[in-house]
């Protein structure tokens, strides 16, 4: 697994401990996320995949340990310092988290309206550019409630990249989507990562798409993280990993490894 580890880490989680009430979610979690790669966080429900994303975003502080994002330890930053780091982050929430009283145009353009001095026309152009990048046209005046699940995710993705972040965090982007929409979003992720050079950290329990699109996989189990690419996971021999992948997953992983990474 050394080849993955040696890449420059864009986000690094170091000896993090976190508990909710009596229950420890992580006792001693460490893992690294490479720059300009797609890393998929996998694991059964309740293993804290989303919590890892929330810690990277600074929405959840660990009890101890460091969460280093682009060189800054967000676990130790004030709210003000967090705002600085968050300018470099985009986040795609599970159900989009678009403001449902605002139109698509207002939603996607909101960060620009809040943090830049751009005029209405410039904001509109920037929004249209991002919407086109996610394959959407003529949706300006629609409200989030009027969008389908797949469109909702894509609009939310457009909002996540409106400020040109370096890192995009995606929480369960495939849940509840039909196969064509899953593939469309997968393709968008690859495009963002390979064409725009963004670092993507994606949580998913969607086995096939995770194995297909990931450069590396972080498997969360029993409060620890195992890192590797699909081929390495399939051949690791670790009982936990074999359990999680199952026979189908292992076969798919071996096939992907054999065919070479895309």
């Amino acid at each position: 697994m050394a080849n993955v580890d040696s890449r420059e880490a864009h986000v690094e989680i170091d000896s993090v401990r976190l508990g909710f009430g009596e229950r420890d979610v992580f006792e001693d979690l460490s893992c690294r996320f490479a720059r300009a790669r797609i890393t998929v966080l996998m694991g059964g429900s309740g293993t804290g995949k989303s919590t890892v994303l929330r810690m990277i975003a600074g929405l959840q502080r660990p009890d101890s340990g460091r969460v280093v994002v682009a060189g800054e330890d967000v676990a130790a930053l004030s709210e003000r310092g967090l705002q600085r780091v968050r300018r470099r982050l985009g986040m795609l929430f599970q159900d989009g988290a678009l403001l449902d009283s605002m139109t698509v145009l207002e939603n996607v353009g909101l960060p620009l309206r809040e943090h830049t001095k751009l005029g209405e026309a410039e904001i509109r152009d920037a929004v249209h550019e991002r919407l086109a990048a996610v394959g959407l046209h003529d949706v300006d005046e629609l409200l989030p409630g009027e969008l389908s699940g797949g469109m909702l995710r894509r609009v939310a993705l457009a909002r996540a990249i409106i400020m040109d972040p370096e890192i995009v965090l995606c929480d369960e982007p495939f849940s509840g989507l039909d196969p064509p929409n899953v593939e469309r979003i997968e393709a968008l992720f690859r495009e963002l990562c390979h064409d725009r050079g963004l670092t993507l950290i994606v949580t998913s329990h969607h086995m096939a798409s995770s194995l297909r699109m990931s450069d590396q996989i972080v498997l969360l189990q029993h409060g620890r993280a195992v890192l590797g690419d699909p081929g390495e996971l399939a051949t690791s021999g670790d009982a936990d990993i074999t359990d999680f992948l199952g026979a189908d997953g292992a076969a798919l992983a071996r096939q992907i490894a054999r065919e070479g990474h895309r």
Binding site: T103, L105, D140, E141
Partner: protein, 154 residues
């Protein structure tokens, strides 16, 4: 399209605020009597032995016409009721005018009735009425009837 719905909403909010402020203004000025303040400012004082149910803001009338209101009621050094009246400044009352406390109807609200005198000299701001007549209370009246001195002088 979108701008126009937002503009319509802004307009409706504006109408709402305006209409509600009119309601506030109506309550304050017309009902609350704030507007009467404009015509007041001429203060006279009347001392009574008994004011009955007179209270602040009770009307002051001449020949039944409202010309002002009771501004304040205090006890003076002689433990009598000192009633300050806030009156229309255009009033010209001779110094021998009198003030009395009357009741509107048998059980109605009490008010101060002014009876203009005949002297040439006029009452100035802050001066005191020489002649006053206290409230005539129903229980006193009944008491007198029972004791048979209803027409005796008091």
């Amino acid at each position: 399209m979108k701008t126009s719905t937002a503009a319509v909403r802004d307009f409706v909010v504006g109408v709402f605020v305006l209409a509600s402020l009119l309601a506030v203004a109506y309550l304050s000025a017309s009902l609350g009597g704030l507007s009467y303040k404009g015509a007041g400012g001429f203060e006279l004082v009347a001392i009574f032995d008994d004011i009955g149910g007179l209270s602040q803001r009770s009307p002051v009338k001449i020949s039944g016409v409202k010309v002002g209101q009771v501004k304040a009621i205090q006890l003076d050094e002689d433990l009598r009721a000192r009633v300050a009246l806030d009156l229309d400044p255009s009033l010209e009352l001779p110094i021998d005018s009198s003030a009395s406390i009357r009741t509107a109807g048998l059980l109605g609200d009490q008010f101060v009735s002014l009876e203009p005198g005949a002297e040439d000299q006029l009452l100035g701001p802050g001066e005191t009425f020489t002649y006053t007549e206290s409230a005539l209370s129903l229980d006193k009246l009944v008491g007198r009837l029972v004791h048979g001195d209803a027409f005796g002088d008091d």
